[in-house]
């Protein structure tokens, strides 16, 4: 406990991001003088994805995701840039988890922490669900309060010792168990071009060739086919909640709009410049169009929640848009698959 007597304030610059994991990765990198944007980090980490798993339910609703499993983006970025990560978890020892955090920031190392959202005191109430894969950076302490950089909040925030401990030990699905991590060894040279190419290749592979039809472009088509039958199979109320789940995943949790599609388009633009390959700009434009179609889908869905449309027809229309999106995205990934380092 002795380490908690002195205040600590690491010189750390907070940057606002759309999504927590990209944001934490980008912010930690910038702190180590590797200046990569959120979009760049997202692309290198192959962050764009799609999965629809109707057999797995969360609060009675099917799991739909526009991104890979939590932690994957951070891991892939570090691997592709050759950065060593130091990781800890303390399944049964919250005091030790806090002591280790104190000792780490005392050495001047900003530290990523996995936390649950429900008890985050600085979060707006309507956003406080039991969601446990949120990432924040702890970069100092003043008295009883920790200095926190939460990438999805515009400015730095604070949490008391007790509140930080609580969110690090949130319970439920995917409990954080006091997990924390930091970048331990930063290489002097890294090959950004190679990292970009690996990131894009992995993305196109995952979106096109996973042999289970729940993932990637096939997953979008699968969702479209099921969606057409939702009103008959589930009844109006449940069908509308399923659709609500899709829209929340698409827009709610810091996707930067349209389920990360716009963020990926931004990445492709940066990649075009970095690799000096102009055709990637064209892919970016196509991805923007696909994103716009996702937004059209959300608008139709929004009308269904409010009961303003003829229901059955709207579900068909929404599903048709998804099929069109699958078509468009497949075309993009087929082009991206051929990427080579110039």
């Amino acid at each position: 406990m002795s380490e908690r007597n002195n205040d600590i304030n690491i010189d750390f610059k907070h940057h606002h991001a759309a999504h927590c994991e990209n944001g934490v990765t980008s912010n930690l990198l910038k702190n180590h003088n590797i200046n990569l944007s959120e979009a760049m980090v997202f692309g290198i980490g192959s962050g764009i994805f799609f999965s629809y798993m109707p057999f797995i339910k969360l609060n009675g609703l099917p799991v739909i995701s526009f991104r890979p499993y939590p932690g994957m983006i951070f891991n892939r970025v570090c691997r592709r840039l050759g950065i060593m990560i130091q990781r800890y978890k303390f399944p049964k020892d919250p005091d030790k988890a806090m002591d280790t955090l104190d000792a780490t920031i005392a050495q001047g190392i900003p530290c990523g922490c996995l936390v649950g959202v429900f008890h985050l005191t600085y979060f707006p109430d309507p956003y406080r669900f039991h969601f446990n894969a949120h990432n924040i950076i702890v970069y100092g302490r003043q008295g009883d309060e920790y200095l926190i950089s939460d990438p999805i909040i515009e400015s730095p925030v604070r949490l008391t010792y007790k509140d930080l401990k609580r969110v690090r030990y949130a319970k439920g699905t995917f409990p954080p168990k006091g997990r924390m991590y930091y970048m331990a060894d930063i290489p002097e040279n890294y090959d950004l071009q190679k990292a970009i190419v690996s990131g894009i290749k992995k993305t196109s592979r995952e979106m096109l060739t996973i042999p289970i039809p729940l993932f990637g472009v096939k997953g979008i088509r699968y969702l479209a086919r099921r969606m057409k039958k939702w009103p008959q199979r589930l009844g109006d109320r449940k069908a509308s909640h399923y659709l609500g789940q899709v829209v929340r995943m698409l827009e709610e949790i810091g996707t930067g709009g349209a389920g990360f599609r716009f963020m990926y388009a931004a990445f492709l633009q940066e990649a075009a410049k970095e690799l000096k390959q102009d055709w990637l700009n064209d892919c970016s434009r196509q991805m923007t169009e696909a994103g716009d179609r996702w937004r059209e889908f959300a608008i139709i869905a929004g009308r269904i929640f409010k009961g303003r449309n003829d229901k059955d027809e709207s579900y068909l229309a929404a599903a048709e848009i998804l099929l069109d999106i699958a078509e468009r995205e497949e075309k993009i990934y087929r082009q991206l698959k051929k990427i080579k380092q110039s």
Binding site: H16, A39, V247, A298
Partner: protein, 138 residues
Amino acid sequence: MKKKEVPQDDEGLQEGKLRDLCYAVDEDGNYVTVLSTGWAPKNAAMHQAWEEIHEKVEVTRQKVLVGELSMLAYFMEKNIMDLKLLAQYTGIPKRKLKKHMNPRKFQALDREILEKYAEAFTITIEELIDITRLEKAK
């Protein structure tokens, strides 16, 4: 999405505490980031999720007021928990939690157990057992 089309449909859901960072293209076709206070379809989806929760809380509140369930049931719903999650937060087995949903059993609980519940809901013991609050509060 064009920069000038980034929606600003503020319905108070973000309580002025956060704005979403959105990616959009400017007049020259370059990507920029723009802050958004909300978007109607997304707000509608959020409202839908909360309506479902509020309904459950209200049904439970009525049951507590007529003496069918204990205050524990009300706070569990209010904190969007189920038996499994509450058991994880308190360390009290589900079998016992179910018993404590009974108002008479709940009244007989000692402070030590009440403390665990209050801690899980981040309230005081007084708030946890004060049923008069339920008559007003929604």
